[in-house]
Symmetry: C2
Subunit: 346 residues, 2 copies
């Protein structure tokens, strides 16, 4: 169809106003003052634009200008998992919030998925991320080779979550896990706990490792007795396992994820062990957005804020206003009350 006829352009305005297209561009982009256009002409141009119902063509504008106002969001996993307690949801909420504020649109890269369900940036030979001015990269999974290549190509991106990809020095936004762990450990120590074990995910990446080492360090400082870590999966937390921990004199557990904490709670229930009277449990993760679990002691991860900050960082990066290697750490919420009690006497 004649796409042309039903969409007035600057050329049409120019013809109607009896000026050149260049003048129309200048007037309509608000540069009339600096470029010194006669007020009378300005008025005529504006009137003509209004009369024709002119709408600038974004495509043409960004073609000319470089930026297109699109910020990418990429993960190496699905963005909207089937599970309701969506890991990404809060991040996305923050991302969208900030994008709105800064007048940017978001591109969810869903075309990059490979048959096995993982996602790849360079899968089909072309780097679709380039569609956007820059990108936020988040998620547990990762692909160091692709990230290195991306960085080598000079593509601007920002991580959510602490990253230590060898070749890159991309900015990231992370939660202040060490401080959160320190707070939890101190709280337990103050309540008289001395035998505290750490229950962590068996997948160890920078963010996980960070929490574990912080636990070890602050535990030592607070006078806790050293315990072997339990790096495991939820289904390996059985009543037997729990009995073993209690048998070792453990009076409190620090769980890395909510799934682990819930597995502990279930095992305790089956084992007839009361939480928190006989066993205190601290969770270093926010509860899933859906289920408002009462009765847990946890330090909420500021996912929403992390998402928002990542967008701000990316835009600063694009503006060249970000010093190289800039990172941002956001404090977690203080430990809530619930599943923590004074250490039982023996």
């Amino acid at each position: 169809m004649s796409q042309r006829s039903d969409r007035p352009g600057q050329r049409d305005i120019a013809r109607l106003a009896g000026v050149s297209q260049a003048v129309v561009s200048v007037v309509l982009t608000g540069k009339a003052e600096t470029k010194r256009i006669t007020p009378g002409i300005q008025e005529k141009v504006r009137a003509a634009a209004t009369q024709l119902g002119y709408v600038p063509d974004v495509a043409a504008r960004s073609l000319r200008g470089g930026r297109n106002g699109l910020l990418g969001v990429h993960t190496f996993e699905r963005v909207f998992p089937v599970r309701a307690d969506d890991y990404y949801h809060e991040f996305l909420a923050g991302i969208e919030e900030k994008a709105v504020e800064l007048g940017q649109d978001l591109v969810l890269f869903s075309s990059t998925q490979r048959p096995d369900g993982t996602r790849s940036i360079y899968a089909n030979g072309s780097n679709r991320l380039r569609l956007a001015d820059g990108a936020i990269i988040l998620g547990l999974e990762r692909n160091d080779a692709e990230l290195e290549r991306l960085a080598a190509e000079g593509y601007p991106f920002v991580f959510i979550g602490r990253r230590d990809v060898p070749g890159t020095s991309a900015p990231y936004v992370a939660a202040d896990y060490p401080a959160a762990v320190a707070g939890a450990v101190r709280a337990l120590a103050d309540l008289g706990h001395r035998q505290v074990a750490y229950v962590g995910n068996d997948v160890r990446r920078a963010p996980q490792e960070e929490r574990r080492t912080a636990f070890a360090e602050h535990g030592r400082r607070s006078g806790l007795a050293p315990q072997p870590d339990a790096l495991t999966t939820p289904d390996q937390i059985t009543t037997d396992w729990l009995a073993g921990q209690l048998g070792n004199g453990v009076t409190a557990l620090v769980a890395e994820t909510f799934e682990l904490a819930e597995a502990v709670a279930e095992a305790a229930k089956r084992h007839g062990c009361e939480v928190p009277a006989e066993l205190s449990v601290v969770c270093l993760d926010s509860p899933p957005t859906g289920s408002v679990v009462a009765g847990w002691s946890y330090t909420a991860i500021p996912r929403r804020e992390m998402g928002a900050r990542s967008i701000a960082l990316l835009l600063a990066l694009l503006d060249g206003a970000l010093p190289a290697g800039h990172v941002e750490v956001i404090a977690c919420d203080p430990l809530t009350e619930g599943s923590v009690a004074p250490a039982p006497h023996r």
Copy 2:
């Protein structure tokens, strides 16, 4: 900066492969077969494109009129509300699922928000939607004037949810509410209920109106006594209101939304009225994704599938393979057991 240097174009590929830019365009858009390009050249072009990490420029491509593999998602409200029981979440999950399958990327138009929180397509003078090949439009709010204009401009879009915008005949994907209502009414009638009242949202749009009229019609067919509708908000459902209903002999309520159903449940609890023994309640809405509410009788809205179908429809529309005015209606899940019981004897 020289934006140019770090973003290879077809020209660069052409130079590297020793051919003309036109050939590169033909090969890379998959028209090599119809335009009969020598396989050897094709290979050379593809190799050069891969080597340079080429990715087509969205802006240029859509300026020229081609497709760019971007599908827009636009709402007149926020996409990620603060509330956990996210209305959009399930739709988006379905949308993303299908986009992955069809190799399309998604653009969340977040730049269109006005200061008052509502969103407008033409707010800032430019129609950003044009960046995408087409768009899905969803949400309760709407802006008929803008939609008419969008349609008049020939922009391809698809609704989620039944729409009846005057000037437009855009395709839409809707849930089969009439059938769901019919099922609910029949179930209640079979259990001996005769006095059944309808509790609906006070905002009446096509999807709401459809349910109400279906209730009236099927109620009549199933021999229910006519009742005045309660079109209201959750906070207006008090114990007094409930007492009034029961006083009128009402033995069952059909609630349009989950919020209304929960308000009814709370009022019933305070009033000492047992659900479902003394009052049956049916909800015509899915429970929020987070809270797995047991004990409700409801007909789940197939949001996920609706989202997926909307993407399929949009792509068909773009391919010109969609007959004008095509609409799609998806069956709701059958009524679950829980808050429905035989009518109490008087």
